[in-house]
Symmetry: C3
Subunit: 642 residues, 3 copies
């Protein structure tokens, strides 16, 4: 695995560049990402390019032995461009322009901006496409960041109408598919279709789902336009893009199909603070991040990526600036996060950023250097990791235990229609991931089209729209299966299937969901050490009750190798169902002490102590210690040979 | 009482209609409501009507023995109409259009839309006005749903200015009445008056009150236009409209004056979840609804209706889709809710809806049938109710114990100027209703103009604007009287009366409110088992203190037959004052076990178990059991002959 | 000290005026503030003035022995003026107009309105400038109330560009100063600069800070235009303006430099309820206000004022109308608040308002009279105060113990970039103020430019932008110094200094802040009776650790006479650091019982009982009781001769 760093030569005096490059190389870094916010320096006046400084920077860095990941600067179009075409900005759902002054101020559907993005991409690709320093291109930066996938502009409306016409051909087909008769919402032509915002009460969920698909497709198309240019002018280089944490605004499976390596930006402390972790977890893991945050995304994006090629394009190196509270990581955590990425198979971990900027929006975002150019604590940890990675050599093959099935429309569906507050397909997947990982298992998060043959257990936490092909593959699957609530409950156009849920999975599970209810917090039906909570599907069919609450309500049904979890996948009931499935599948589990996590490759056990206390490895984890100690300090990493 | 159902033949294949009609009749239903969202099917192109399918549906349903309530489809104007006159949509208080894509996308003040609404109403009335299948018309659907009464459009502004001119004649009169001198808010002409939104800080409360009255009048006028057309073309049929729960956006007393039957839409579980019930009540009654929700609205809308004719036009039959959480009712609850409506004197309970729709916004809203056309649990309960209603025969006359006085301007006043967070006239009435009903009393919720002669006790929980006529009627009233805080504290234009509160009630109560304060939660002045909380009126006059707190502050004053409750009507202090008034009025009370509720007619006691536990009837409730058992299961209904 | 009252003759019948004037004088009032909302009465039609009524009112009041503070009515421009220039209103950050219908509906940058404001000011100044009844002018009313300093209008944008051009001369200088290269935010000309609202994510903090400075400067310029006119036409009169509580929208040091007396509006109960006090304090002090609210502002605005001339222009006399809950003060509190203002050196306390208005927005705001013209409880308290003030005679000189350093850009900085939720420079100052005052100390809140020579201790709670001159003055300062976190962490353009924090204070403290982190609530590092919480600066340098937590993290560093508090100034750690500094400075402290507060002048001890219980004075407070008792009742005031 390579180590790298994100660097902005344009932020620093020319005379510092050689020093920076030398320090990077000395720290064991071999990759440097540059350029992705530099449009105003590359093209300071319309059509007038200034390549000199960037040529210079590329040369200095490469001369120090660093390979370059070059970013296209399309996330930050300069002011003169926005002034040329003021309608290039997105409109938010309230109809307000999302203007210049920060970043991502463009609408994916604006044709004029699309041409400008292609123009600047082509200019860069022509300039650097053959440069031996450049080993990889990054398109744009964090598509969707700051909620920018959806735009409610005129351009978006026109594009949406075209998209719908391509999808449905005839307006009557759309009316039927969406059930527009419901509230006299029928259209007479595609030109009558509006965007789903600013309706009096919620728009048709089919309307929203179509708009979510369309908006995602616009991102994919925008990206593909850059990819095509880069492929033409820079053959042989990888193309990557940096995804984000807990973010589902576009379909990453689709986007990843067009690029070589899917990167993501890993900020465990910020994510802990900003996302839906319990107050207790937020305290327990304030300086470490919840132990499943990073690994979850490693396994998610590996599953999204073509050929499982993935990387961490930005790695948190210290306190950040954007969460409600921004503590420092425990000493050692930066190294732990990096080694965990290695254990999950990353090609690269690139720290963000080299040196903390003293100005502008991210001035409180730590770097490997302090704003005054002196090393910050993370630099030594990066060096340490570089040394350890060399020690380890090849990590061997990934071991595969469990396939966890997720796709983006699943999360869109639950966002559009949660039915019970906060019930989300993504977080159902996260909770299943955590439950499996607390048993010491390796988990792959895969789409419906994945090959399941290498797994002993398939878990489908909440997958409303199920393809016939996937249903077929599950039926033919040899191992154990767990299917969670709402799975198979919708067709492609957000309608309930004629045979009701689980739709295409009916045969597999041999049951029909006749009624679904969501339960307020605290309304629980207790079983033996577990409870039905949040959700309950009432079921009829030949499946047998497997977990029955004291009042007779059934939490889990069984038919052959398949289980249907009729309540929300969380807590003890989830643990119980997974434990049973693992036992039936013959999977050996290694229950983890609180805060400990493990990753198994064909050569090693990697063990990570996310807790703030010392933990001694359970005896079930055997092998020669290659790195670390069996009694692990907080933020400790131990690697054992298998 | 009739049972009925809401049906959308346009949602289902033609070949299913006879089956549906037959199943309805077999279930004991005799009424079916149709048509209210079908504009795009009735008039698919501007001016081109397609009556054939609706003729057909009417015939099929009537042939099966069902009488029809036909809705005018004006709540869902089709897209082509909105495109013809884009300014027909309302603007919200932020100035944003409330566009097409769901329902109720029209501004009540838009003259063009008013003409279109009249045109479609006339077309339907001409088509079906004389049809023997049609026994009732419903105008529009749920006026005000999704906060649609107020619009801040140009049309609304023009209409508001006209309305003000009619009310005040001269602009100086308006300036004086509102006290516009206060912040140089004086107008020189009606053409200078703006709507009260988008002001820098709150607008003049008199301005808001006028706008609330105006907005309500626009609804009433819109409705009356339809009523006039229906009366002309469909003589002899009833006209109804469906009101909502805990909704005060327009003056229901006014609207009800124009129609024959006031309906309302009863969703006890959704209302429990969405409105201001305590977390504990939300859990205790998650599958039943708070025991006073349905009855409160029965008694409220009965009091609004001309000749006390009212019905439940939509009855929740299972989980709904629109609350934060949507649990299923306890088995038996649908029957309980239906029988309780009967006990309170409904003419009709109509379930919403016949069959759960597999598409569009309400696909998670249960029906009597599942989406696949198979009976859902509520169908059997409806059948059971039909049988029981036959068993009971005539329920006899309503018994009248207590008049609870409420009007819509009271709630508007407390919304405009709560003075203490959450202090609401409507909820004061609800709390008084609950306190009375927990004593087993029958309560009528009546306007100021009601005849009080049949009651032993009149409770006026919070009635800021009191008419001289009502004050006079109270003075002449023979029974006990309780008047709550803020009553009589404002004139028609939201000014404090010259003689201060209680204004016109000063003579009755023989006191003057010299100072009012609202108290933060937790700031209480304890008395003997009760406390002053939330509000305290300081008083001078000849009235005598009746309840004095330990620190000398007075919670309740007494003068003759009248009591003035100087603190907010809630909790133990309310119970204490009501208990004293009942004793003085000689009213026999029957304290209810928690979760039990009772309704008395001249022939029967109806008893309802809203708790989740078994309850044995108190011995004070005597009589022969006609339905049910003295030991009542959860969701049980027991009827005893008197 | 004078007592006064705010009066609106235009609200009341002409025949009442003499009565009101007489009652005022009899109550011991000698000042009356009028006119500030009367534009629509002074100029009912454009250009047509009606002076008669105001001449009359001035005469009646003066004849009764009252001196007049005359307000310019520019906070409430009449409707006809807004209709003449509709773009004179401000736009909010969402781009919505903030229209007519309440008050403060103008944009400070609108040149046309500026001219109109000057015109009406000149007209009033010409009419009354030489009138012997007029002793003082108030400009406008509560600049910034209802968040009105910032406007996002076209006028504001144009003015902002001009302001930037004046500040930076060249656009490149601005780009460099702000670090606009960061996200390609570079401008090519000042005409390209936008306002910082409606950006996709947060704008550059330097952009916001410039906009905050600009917006403040617009207020100061608007005010100065009136001041210049008043000085010209009304020589020899004082000019004042009324500031507000916990309000930092403009730079009060700047504004105060142009006027003679800085007034403020004191509403202790409303402020307690609306601002960030703990739920327990909100209950404990519901009828008194937190004991530091009033004094904090007295000392803050005294420090802002030229020559320390200040007053209370509006004093709460009973329940108000604008907080979430609005209880009545304890009997005696109005007198206590007034005497406390006297103890802190006010020239005037003016009650708001004379008589409660029965109409419009503030009808629930108490006055000295009830709406019916009968005395409300506060009138007697005012009389009592008038008597006591006479008894006391001269209060002597202010005693100076501690200088607490605050400026407005400090609070702007923490609002723009809190880095940890809720971390605010203003509230850091308030907490330090409370900690010092609970030790019985006199505290002056002063700007960086203040003369420090009279103090024994200087506390700098959180002052990000430190001038070289102030750093120099601290270095030369003879007493003890406490510097809090983030101090010296930014330059004038919101950049981190080259030498990192504490920037200009590096020499004084002999340390460098290498890393800052904010801590979530509950994440604490315990020391000996204190804890590091909310914030932690990691430090290197020669300063010595003074307070070290059990895990080795350092809360406080010491270098010579200076301490650096590396954690947020609050709670026990603050108390500990202050206690040490006082001891080292040789300051005698008098720890206060809970709820008691004290103020020392050269002649007296003033003691105030803010608690709801009786408190006996500690023996450390010696002297002859002049007013009150040593055993103080709730709301009691005791004055002892020194």
């Amino acid at each position: 695995m390579h180590l790298g760093v994100c660097y902005y030569p344009e932020h620093w005096p020319r005379e510092r560049w050689e020093t920076d490059a030398r320090m990077m190389a000395e720290a064991g870094l071999s990759r440097v990402r540059i350029g992705e916010f530099a449009w105003s320096r590359i093209e300071p006046e319309p059509g007038e390019f200034d390549w000199q400084w960037l040529d210079d920077a590329v040369e200095v860095l490469h001369d120090a032995g660093l390979d370059i990941i070059m970013g296209t600067p399309t996330a930050t179009p300069p002011k003169w461009l926005v002034d040329q075409m003021p309608d290039m900005v997105a409109l938010d759902a309230h109809g307000r322009p999302r203007g210049f002054g920060s970043r991502r101020h463009y609408c994916f559907s604006h044709a004029g901006y699309g041409q400008e993005a292609a123009r600047i991409t082509r200019a860069m690709a022509q300039r650097y496409g053959q440069n031996p320093a450049i080993v990889c291109w990054q398109t744009d930066n964090e598509y969707g960041c700051h909620d920018t996938v959806q735009s409610f502009s005129d351009a978006a409306r026109e594009a949406f109408r075209l998209w719908l016409k391509q999808r449905y051909s005839a307006i009557k087909a759309l009316n039927t598919a969406w059930g527009n008769v419901f509230w006299s919402m029928e259209y007479r032509s595609f030109a009558e279709v509006e965007l789903p915002n600013l309706t009096v009460t919620e728009a048709n969920p089919a309307h929203w789902l179509a708009f979510r698909r369309f908006s995602s497709d616009q991102v994919v198309a925008f990206n593909r336009a850059q990819v095509d240019i880069l492929r033409e002018h820079s053959p042989g280089r990888d193309i990557t893009h940096n995804a984000m944490g807990f973010y589902t605004g576009y379909d990453h499976h689709d986007l990843a199909g067009d690029i070589d390596i899917l990167g993501w930006d890993s900020y465990p402390l910020g994510f802990l603070e900003q996302f839906r972790f319990s107050p207790q977890d937020k305290l327990n893991y304030a300086r470490q991040g919840h132990p499943d945050i990073a690994a979850f995304h490693h396994d998610l994006y590996r599953g999204c990526a073509r050929d499982e090629r993935w990387s961490v394009l930005e790695q948190q190196p210290g306190p950040v600036n954007w969460a409600r509270h921004n503590p420092a990581p425990l000493p050692g955590m930066v190294a732990l996060w990096t080694l965990e990425a290695a254990a999950h198979g990353a090609e690269l971990v690139s720290y963000f950023r080299w040196r903390q900027a003293p100005f502008a929006q991210e001035q409180m975002h730590a770097g490997l250097l302090r704003p005054d150019g002196v090393p910050a604590p993370a630099l030594a940890e990066a060096k340490d990791v570089a040394f350890k990675l060399k020690t380890l050599g090849s990590k061997g093959e990934t071991c595969r235990d469990v396939a966890l099935v997720f796709d983006y429309p699943a999360e869109w569906m639950t966002q559009i229609q949660p039915q019970g507050e906060g019930l989300s397909a993504l977080w159902a997947v996260f909770d299943c991931y955590g439950a499996l990982r607390r048993l010491g298992l390796n988990v792959d998060i895969v789409p419906q089209r994945a090959d399941l043959s290498q797994y002993s257990l398939v878990v489908v936490p909440c997958l409303p729209i199920v393809s016939e092909a996937f249903a077929q593959r599950l039926t033919e699957f040899d191992g154990e299966i767990i299917v969670g609530p709402r799975s198979g409950s919708r067709d492609q156009d957000f309608c309930i299937p004629d045979n009701l849920a689980p739709g295409p999975l009916t045969e597999l599970l041999d049951l029909t969901v006749t009624r679904s209810e969501s339960l307020p917090l605290g309304l629980e039906h207790a079983g033996d050490g577990w409870a039905i909570a949040r959700w309950l599907d009432h079921v009829e069919g030949k499946a047998a009750p497997e977990l029955t609450a004291q009042d007779g309500l059934v939490a889990c049904w069984r038919h052959g190798k398949a289980r249907y979890l009729a309540t929300w996948p969380q807590g003890e009931v989830l643990d119980e169902v997974i434990a049973r499935a693992c036992r039936d599948a013959g999977i050996a589990t290694v229950p983890m002490p609180k805060g400990l996590r493990i990753r198994r490759t064909s050569n090693y056990w990697f063990v990570f102590n996310y807790s703030a206390s010392e933990i001694t490895l359970p005896e079930t984890i055997e092998g020669e210690v290659v790195i670390g100690l069996r009694t692990m300090p907080p933020a400790g990493v131990t690697v054992l040979a298998r």
